[in-house]
Symmetry: C2
Subunit: 275 residues, 2 copies
Amino acid sequence: MTYCVAMSLDGGLVFLSDSRTNAGLDQISTFRKMTVYEKEGDRVMVLLAAGNLALTQAVRQLLNGHTLECDDGPVSIWNCKTMFDAARIVGSAIRKVFERDGDSLRKFGIEFNLNLIFGGQIKGEPTRLFNVYAAGNFVEAGEDGVCYFQIGESKYGKPIIDRVVNRSTPLDQAAKCALVSMDSTLKSNLSVGLPLDLLIYHADTLHAQRIVHIDEHDPYFRMIRSSWGQRLREVFESIPNPVWDETSSESGLRPPSQHEQLNPIRKVNAPQQAS
Amino acid sequence: MTYCVAMSLDGGLVFLSDSRTNAGLDQISTFRKMTVYEKEGDRVMVLLAAGNLALTQAVRQLLNGHTLECDDGPVSIWNCKTMFDAARIVGSAIRKVFERDGDSLRKFGIEFNLNLIFGGQIKGEPTRLFNVYAAGNFVEAGEDGVCYFQIGESKYGKPIIDRVVNRSTPLDQAAKCALVSMDSTLKSNLSVGLPLDLLIYHADTLHAQRIVHIDEHDPYFRMIRSSWGQRLREVFESIPNPVWDETSSESGLRPPSQHEQLNPIRKVNAPQQAS
């Protein structure tokens, strides 16, 4: 399994990936799931991959030299003019892998399972972020809608992002949120694991400067792991427990007697003959 | 979809269920998913249901009068001696529904999809909690292992339970945690919805007294919804952002230059001919 998340913000982009892969519980390995494509001063692109490792590796291998026929002739990720075209090239690389491997996988009952996050910036454009699917089609994070994508084991880490991140969140704060989200996922699912790769891209720098590899010794992530859990428990304890007194209070659950009159619960009493 | 959670604690049991069902996004309804079976002073049993609504309703309908052949003759949930036997009777009711409907569903490509939480207390036994599967088999929450079960859309609400609940958590605090867990799920998944049913069973009372029906007007749940999100954001902001200074600090991420030497990220530079 995998957990990757990327956020598209006013200040730039944040990417975070774990590195655990497993083919069954007895075959657990570490593979990096983040790839950075950079032509400094011209373009920076980041690819995060979830799904069948053989497929994502094949796509990554292919992508570097892959070209797509456009109006101006064949273009690659290195000379296309927009991130939209770059995302099309990623989609085209996926389709090429599907042509090669799709039939054989089907014969073995293996799903063509792959899900990518792809984002970055090409000079002259703003930063852009895409979620590219196994069929090679994709969606883009919009200015007015969702500003992040998750792939892989996404649910455990979603609530905290929904609560604290929006497009105007500063990059460092968003990175912190991505790490908290990852921490929740690590804690609830063994198939997601350290080390992590974190990349923070500042818009218009056209250089992937802030990349960190985070392992179990990383002091910042260790601080997050310990203090987030601890403070969450403190906040939890600071919220009053439900009050069950018959004299209903503002912060208490209304007493059951009132409720049952309004909304009778499905309560089945023992039949008479069963005593 | 559905989200139900139940916790088995030293002080008793907590059950919480939502009430949203959907057969496609254009067919959303409200159905109660909690059923309470009570013979006051002798036994209290609670059933929470997730999965195909027609199936869970059929099981519930059947369960009240269903008997299972045991050494002492046929027993029902109303006269069995242990919660283990009661869970077997629930499993047997599921199997009976499978006998009736399984073939027909298969012909329409519909999965026999059903997942139940079943718990309570029979006089002379401690409280017990089971997760009963579609095959009619079941597992029990153990004293030394996991003390809660979730069914349905469980992942969004799991991290907070993992962080704050253990077997010695007081009942009211566990109920609060179940509601926070539900709140996270409601916020991240539209297919889980109000109203909620909350039941807190105090061990050895053999009476289901504390049942609350929680709708959008419930003051306690409204307080949880607003203050939990607010305080979570406060805690989040109180944790320092990563520091990117080259002079590495205890609470900062180590600077990328050091890391890249140790753990080079997969960074692909533009090929020379692409300039």
